[in-house]
């Protein structure tokens, strides 16, 4: 057996020069310190993305986009297709866990100030993937074509439509017309299975390439240490195997969640029916949704909701370009303001999400 593997490896090595790659990976080291745990969340996010791709492709074998077929095809997947229920439930749960791990990954990078030079583009590509992940969530939410997804998409796209100037065209683009209809379903399906995955794959490729090229970021205090004082572990096999171990644990978590809390089917969407009570967006949009609800109808000369959307837009833009305005960190100095802003944002998101959840 060993001989077969060796022969196969030699065959590939002769053509692809794998030895160079192994040599390169063998020289890569991951810093070991008290916050090393956070390094794993990038890999966990990647794992959930891979699960999404695999389960998504499997669902595509049976899913039929269209107002007359979507709900029925999901019903068929859930009741007739062998392990269809498992695939759909895993897809749903992996989507949520992907956003969660990506958010954790993003905050860990933020608090470690790992976005600082020379990793500005890694940060930007990561943020783009997080936004795309939310786009995946929003576009995928409508696909079962049930009451909840229909009205949540209606509310969500209405909010997007409130953005001055670009809001209305954006809403029309998203809906494929003035209302949420079968055209919206076809459009969001296209976004979900073709456009977003295409863009995501390119951005993910850039992100991974940058990580491999620049190596894993060291914490700021490492810069003061001698090379001998820096505690590290080899990327291959140590870090990769640990990553794999965490992937297995996450696979277990996914299986348990999918079996004990399977995805619901709900009732088929009816455009003429009344909206079910307590329409809420997915949990990762909840803090924004809840914040907009607290705003008064008018603030000075501007509508409260519009002002809220503009403020969130500005906050996201600032967050996206943090490597460029955080000059202090770029100079290698400690910037406590950034940390305080991050803590405030986390508290804000958690509190508003809880309030939105219990409302």
């Amino acid at each position: 057996m060993k001989k077969i593997i060796k022969n196969f490896y030699d065959y590939l090595d002769e053509r692809l020069h794998l030895e160079d790659l192994v040599h390169f990976m063998g020289k890569k080291y991951v810093p070991v310190h008290s916050h090393s745990l956070w390094y794993y969340f990038g890999g966990v996010s990647l794992f959930f993305f891979i699960v999404q791709v695999i389960t998504g492709i499997l669902l595509l074998f049976y899913y039929k986009a269209g107002p007359d077929l979507a709900f029925e095809s999901i019903q068929y997947i859930m009741s007739k297709v062998q392990f269809g229920w498992l695939i759909r439930s895993v897809h749903g749960w992996a989507a949520n866990l992907f956003i969660l791990s990506a958010v954790i990954h993003m905050f860990s990078v933020y608090f470690e100030k790992a976005y600082r030079k020379p990793r500005e583009l890694t940060w930007i590509s990561g943020m783009l993937m997080l936004f795309l992940g939310m786009g995946f969530g929003f576009s995928g939410y409508l696909l079962p074509w049930n009451e909840l997804s229909f009205f949540a998409t209606k509310v969500g796209s209405d909010i997007a439509g409130a953005v001055p100037i670009i809001g209305e065209p954006m809403k029309i683009l998203m809906r494929g017309g003035p209302d949420v209809t079968g055209a919206t379903l076809s459009r969001l399906f296209g976004f979900h299975v073709a456009l977003f995955p295409g863009i995501f794959t390119v951005v993910l490729g850039i992100h991974l390439l940058l990580i491999q090229r620049q190596g894993i970021s060291e914490p700021m205090h490492f810069e003061q240490l001698d090379k001998k004082e820096k505690k590290t572990m080899p990327f291959f096999p140590n870090f990769l195997l640990r990553d794999l171990l965490l992937w297995l644990v996450m696979l277990n978590v996914l299986a348990i969640l999918a079996v004990f809390f399977p995805a619901e089917l709900g009732h088929k969407a009816d455009a003429f029916g009344s909206a079910p009570e307590g329409i809420k967006p997915e949990w990762y949009f909840l803090f924004m949704f809840q914040s907009l609800k607290y705003l008064p109808a008018h603030i000075l000369f501007i509508e409260g909701e519009v002002l809220g959307i503009l403020l969130f837009g500005a906050a996201f833009a600032l967050w996206l370009i943090v490597p460029f305005w955080d000059r202090k960190t770029a100079r290698g100095e400690q910037n406590k303001l950034i940390t305080y802003i991050g803590i405030f944002v986390i508290i804000f998101i958690i509190v508003l999400t809880i309030l939105g959840w219990v409302a």
Binding site: L248, A255, I256, P262
Partner: protein
């Protein structure tokens, strides 16, 4: 001087004349004095209740009734209005009849809302010529010979009402101008009804047009406020038919409404407000209301329950019922108190209607067929209950079972079909519906629901196995990492 004495004497005589005759329009109404000589309306007016109450011609026509100068009396300055026309007629009547104090002045207890009711009625809302409403007060009450409604000569006395209404409603040419789709045979039908025949015999108590439709406030039958709107019919009929005192002389029961209210028809109409459910008139007719005879009962019920009636007619029971002169549907289902047809009616138990005629010793074939038919329905019920229980269990376990649940509705449909098919009294046909359709559906549903429940446990066991394998892999990997790191540590200087 002579002239003065003659004048005073004349005045004295006149005074004595008025004193003896009292204050009547005849004596003081110069309009009447002249018009009496002309005959015609004045002769009619003499019999009019208004004349008898001392109301002058000027009460309706205006003018000065005190002067014998015709020009002055009928001048515009004296307020002469002439013959009222169109809607003015009813307004002129309402001058007094809509005023309580005015009516009390003449000692009348009549209500004062007639014009209000008339305006809201179908007669007061519509117009055939666009100038005036269809009916004015005089259309039914006449103009100069108005007498009390209790007076047999009044056109609105109960015995005269059918003909009064029929003047228009039996006139096809006239009715075409107003409502071409409305039939014009109401009076003719009424004359064939029990109510109409008694009315024709001179009995004023049985219902005539106004008893059911109202008098001044008559509304279209489709109007929810109409006394004859589908939902209101049972109560309208019950006003007389539930009044034991009123119905005393007619020797018919007065519990029909109470029984009907408890029936499946009554509940559908009165509680669920299903206007398609039968009311009294659906079986008895409306204008030609009459109790259906033994022969016609199945035709009456069959007008809605057509399949049941057809099956019964071709069943062996038809001949048997005819021979015994039994009313077809009523024998098993009763008449006014028709209760929901449950399976309890079928079979040979005490409460089963079959056992009224079929026993183990008498008409035995029917006894055994009824027993079998009941056993089929019981089997379907048991099977359906089990299917529902299993579907509920699967749903509670979070399994997707909506298609099976939807399919199970066919079992209910089979039960409904069975309720019709039972009227064939043919065991094979009944079995085909209950067992062939119903039980086949419940059996398949049970199997699918069981599969869903089993699948639930399979998922749990599958999860246990996969969690175990993944955990084992994780543990192996963990130990492998430790082993590698131990080797790496040992190599370090």
């Amino acid at each position: 001087m002579k002239k003065i004495i003659f004048f005073v004497f004349t005045l004295f005589l006149l005074n004595g004349f008025f004193f003896l005759h009292g204050k009547t329009p005849e004596s003081s109404d110069q309009c009447f004095v002249c018009h009496e000589q002309l005959g015609g309306v004045a002769d009619l007016f003499k019999k009019d209740i208004h004349f008898q109450k001392g109301i002058s011609c000027s009460g309706c026509h205006g003018g000065d009734s005190k002067t014998d100068d015709m020009d002055k009396a009928m001048s515009k300055s004296a307020g002469f209005l002439g013959i009222p026309k169109g809607d003015d007629i009813s307004l002129r009547c309402a001058n007094c009849h809509a005023k309580k104090e005015m009516m009390q002045k003449y000692g009348s207890q009549l209500p004062t809302n007639q014009l209000e009711l008339l305006k809201a009625s179908v007669h007061g809302k519509l117009s055939t010529n666009g100038k005036e409403k269809i009916i004015q007060c005089t259309t039914c009450h006449n103009a100069h010979g108005i007498v009390s409604v209790k007076n047999p000569v009044s056109p609105v006395y109960s015995l005269n009402i059918p003909n009064t209404c029929g003047k228009c409603h039996s006139n096809a040419k006239y009715m075409q101008t107003y409502n071409p789709s409305l039939s014009v045979d109401q009076v003719a039908k009424y004359r064939t009804s029990v109510h109409g025949m008694l009315n024709a015999k001179g009995d004023p108590k049985p219902a005539e047009c106004a008893s059911c439709h109202g008098s001044h406030g008559i509304r279209a039958t489709a109007d929810t406020k109409s006394q004859v709107y589908a939902l209101n019919i049972p109560e309208t009929c019950s006003k007389c038919h539930s009044d034991a005192q009123y119905m005393a002389g007619y020797k018919i029961p007065t519990d029909q409404y109470a029984k009907y209210a408890k029936s499946v028809h009554g509940k559908a109409l009165l509680e669920k407000h299903d206007v398609g459910a039968p009311a009294c008139n659906s079986c008895h007719g409306n204008h030609g209301a009459t109790p259906p005879g033994v022969e016609s009962i199945s035709k009456v019920c069959g007008s809605c329950h057509a399949l049941n009636a057809d099956l019964f007619s071709s069943s062996p029971h038809k001949q048997a019922f005819d021979k015994e002169k039994l009313p077809e549907c009523e024998t098993c289902h009763s008449n006014h108190e028709i209760l929901p047809a449950t399976k309890a009616m079928l079979g040979v138990d005490k409460e089963a209607v079959c056992s009224k005629c079929h026993t183990e010793t008498k008409s035995t074939k029917g006894y055994f067929v009824a027993q079998k038919m009941r056993s089929y329905i019981d089997s379907l019920d048991v099977s359906e209950a089990l299917a529902l229980k299993l579907i509920y269990e699967a749903e509670q376990k979070g399994m997707e079972i909506s298609e099976t649940k939807f399919k199970l509705r066919d079992a209910h449909q089979a039960k409904l079909e069975a309720r019709t098919m039972v009227h064939s009294f043919n065991e094979e046909k009944f079995k085909e519906v209950v067992i062939g359709k119903g039980l086949a559906v419940t059996t398949a549903s049970i199997s699918e629901a069981r599969e869903a429940v089993d699948n639930y446990f399979f998922r749990r066991y599958g999860l246990m196995v996969s969690v175990f394998i993944i955990s084992l892999l994780s543990l192996s990997l963990y130990l492998y990492i430790k082993q590698i790191e131990k080797k790496q540590a040992s190599k370090l200087p």
